[in-house]
């Protein structure tokens, strides 16, 4: 570290980031954050310039999801800061640890409606786990260090730190080493639990007396880095499992007794099995409405063992019979131990689950010579590398990717789940690619979502990132159009995008090689060309406007009433 006398608020900020292990940050400069950008000029921490602050926030989310580290994004005051908010809300909904650093007008101007002043603390309250405004230079080190602790502790989430410009420029005096090594607040230390073995015994008894248990696996498994522990539980018990959108890859797709994703666009097998089960073992999941369908009719015969680190999730949407409130990294091994002495008798149930899987395959058949996106995405999944990271945007293409693509780990499928944020896919892929430069990173996007953060193609160009973009184009806002067809009497209000730009020309303008395909017979060669291309590539895939995502649980309907493809 520099001689402490040379620190300003700005250079101290960079030093603390460095000390926290941050190597990459995403952002966009502006007036009130200029001193920090001046410090970036000398810092080993690498800054990636995105072309919109929202892109920077999503890049931080993609980076955090792919690497397991904290993602960091940065913006100036006012509009720069407000542009980060959607990314923060996204990270809040999906429990992603990111830090947002915002510039603020000088302390003397604060509260006077100054140029580019906005009350970002007030605005961020509802979409951050915590936020800090630095009021004097002595708070800076403590707040930044605490921000990293809060973002990662317990159930992770986004933390914002607002730093007025004059504090960024203030010389730091009396900086003790201890100021850089702030001990965890008691509150954080307290989050270690010493759960008694009673609850585990009760859970084990419930499991051993159950005839039809099922594991309902959520995003918590990936966040807790407990995929192997879950694998052990499944191996030792052979209990059938279903996963949420965020947990795809949490159970190996080839594992026996795996029924796939549940919920609105889940597999029929998963949904029927959950409706029939007598015990739900909930592993890091939260009974989201897209999972449960009509809540009162979800898994109506099931007792519930709820495993989660967040006490507020227990009983929030569904009462639990036993709650195991802890990091899954602790509670899963404890549960395995507790079950070890019990014998499970679930052969009939396993056979029933297998029958459900065999009787309800995903229908990838399509007679047309035109491209059928689910079949294309299955082929893509079979073609890409085993370690490939796939990001998506939000809509039909996202559900098709979730239904057809296979992942070996939740970190390999990065999608906006809870918030469902269009425009997420490309910046998230940028973050993922920067965290894992040698890994194949693919974005599956749609023509609606793609245009929402299209400016990030310039970021791909700037850093020569070899991201491959598969753009599924039905010239519609497909998911909304599908709902208009099914639930709004085919009144297609504002969902026709047939005047889209020429996507190949657009990509070419950013130096990204691109190609359009329209027929099934072109797919294989196009994949070869894309995956062998040494750089970014956009594969523009034209599909029929009227293709729908099947099967489907209509909103506020029981999951036992899935609608199948109509003629």
């Amino acid at each position: 570290m520099n001689n402490q006398q040379n620190y300003t608020g700005a250079s101290l900020t960079l030093s603390i980031l460095e000390q926290q292990g941050v190597t990459d940050i995403f952002g966009y400069p502006g007036g009130a954050i200029m001193p920090v950008y001046d410090a970036i000029y000398d810092s080993p921490v690498k800054h990636y310039l995105c072309r919109h602050e929202q892109g920077a926030a999503f890049a931080a989310v993609g980076y955090a999801r792919a690497s397991g580290k904290v993602g960091v994004c940065m913006a100036t005051s006012g509009p720069g800061a407000t542009n980060l908010l959607t990314g923060l809300a996204d990270a809040m909904a999906d429990s992603i640890p990111i830090i947002a650093i915002t510039g603020q007008v000088g302390t003397k101007a604060m509260g006077s409606d100054g140029f580019q002043e906005v009350d970002i603390i007030g605005l961020s309250l509802a979409c951050t786990k915590h936020c800090f405004q630095v009021k004097n230079i002595d708070q800076l080190a403590e707040f930044l260090t605490q921000a990293f602790q809060i973002a990662q502790s317990g159930r992770p989430g986004p933390v914002l730190i607002d730093i007025p410009k004059d504090i960024q420029m203030t010389q730091v005096e009396n900086l003790s080493e201890s100021a850089l090594q702030i001990a965890a607040e008691n509150k954080l230390a307290n989050q270690q639990t010493n759960q008694s073995s009673d609850e585990f015994q009760q859970a084990a008894k419930l499991i051993s007396t159950s005839q039809k248990p099922i594991l309902y696996v959520g995003g918590g498994v990936g966040i807790a880095n407990a995929v192997n522990d879950l694998e052990q539980l499944i191996k030792s018990t052979e209990i059938p499992s279903v996963v949420t959108l965020k947990a795809l890859g949490g159970v190996k797709p080839e594992r026996s007794n795996y029924l796939g994703m549940l919920g609105m666009h889940g597999t029929k097998a998963a949904n029927i099995a959950v409706q029939e089960c007598d015990l739900l073992i909930v592993v890091g999941a939260r009974f989201d409405d897209r999972v449960t369908g009509k809540l009162d009719e979800f898994a109506p015969h099931a007792k519930v063992i709820h495993m989660d680190i967040d006490p507020a999730e227990i009983g929030k949407r569904r009462q639990a019979d036993v709650a195991l409130i802890d990091n899954l990294k602790n509670s899963l091994p404890n549960l395995i131990k507790a079950i070890a002495s019990h014998k499970l008798n679930i052969n009939t149930w396993q056979e029933r689950c297998l029958e459900l899987v065999e009787k309800n395959p995903l229908d990838l058949s399509n007679e047309s010579i035109n491209i059928f996106a689910p079949a294309l995405l299955r082929e893509l999944s079979d073609t890409v590398s085993e370690s490939a990271i796939v990001t998506t945007d939000v809509g039909q293409h996202q559900m098709w990717a979730a239904q057809t693509m296979h992942f070996n780990h939740p970190n390999q499928f990065i999608t906006s789940s809870g918030l469902g944020t269009m425009g997420f896919g490309i910046p998230a892929a940028i973050g993922a690619q920067i965290s894992a430069p040698k890994t194949q990173v693919i974005t599956v996007s749609g023509d609606g979502s793609f245009m929402m953060n299209v400016q990030e193609l310039a970021t791909i160009k700037r850093y020569q990132l070899p991201v491959k973009i598969v753009l599924i184009d039905n010239s519609r806002l497909g998911m909304v159009r599908q709902w208009q067809e099914l639930f709004f009497k085919r009144r297609y209000s504002e969902t026709d995008l047939s005047d889209n730009p020429d996507f190949v020309t657009l990509a070419t303008a950013f130096d990204i090689k691109a190609k359009t395909i329209t027929k099934k017979k072109e797919i294989s060669d196009a994949f070869d060309e894309m995956l062998n291309h040494n750089g970014a590539y956009l594969l523009h895939v034209k599909i029929d406007a009227m293709d729908n995502v099947w099967p489907l649980v209509p909103p506020e309907t029981s999951n036992s009433k899935m609608i199948e493809k109509t003629a």
Partner: protein, 124 residues
Amino acid sequence: MKQRHDHTLQIKAENQPTVLERLLQVTRYRGFSITAFRVLPTMTGNMLDITLTVHEAGEFSDNPENNMTKLCHQLNKLFDIKHVNLKSMKVGNMECKSSKFSHSPSNCSKYVSQEMNNLISNVN
């Protein structure tokens, strides 16, 4: 006939600039209206003693105490809130009930339903 249930929360919080806004925001977002709100700084330490009386906004639910417990868990997650005590009060007959929430999740982990207890005793 359903009665309006007022519930009083006694909250200890760090006296930080955003703590009251966060408290009010979570209370509103989780579906409660505030009927009384008192904040006093503690004599020692940089803390606040907060007394918050709320009732469920909108239609009265069948299980207000359960919803209050959910609110307490959500408030308890806020970084600057140290603990939350819940006192439920049925307007009319003054029936009181008190529950404590604090930051150690282990305090919340003794969570076994009555039905589950029955089942376990049957198994035993």
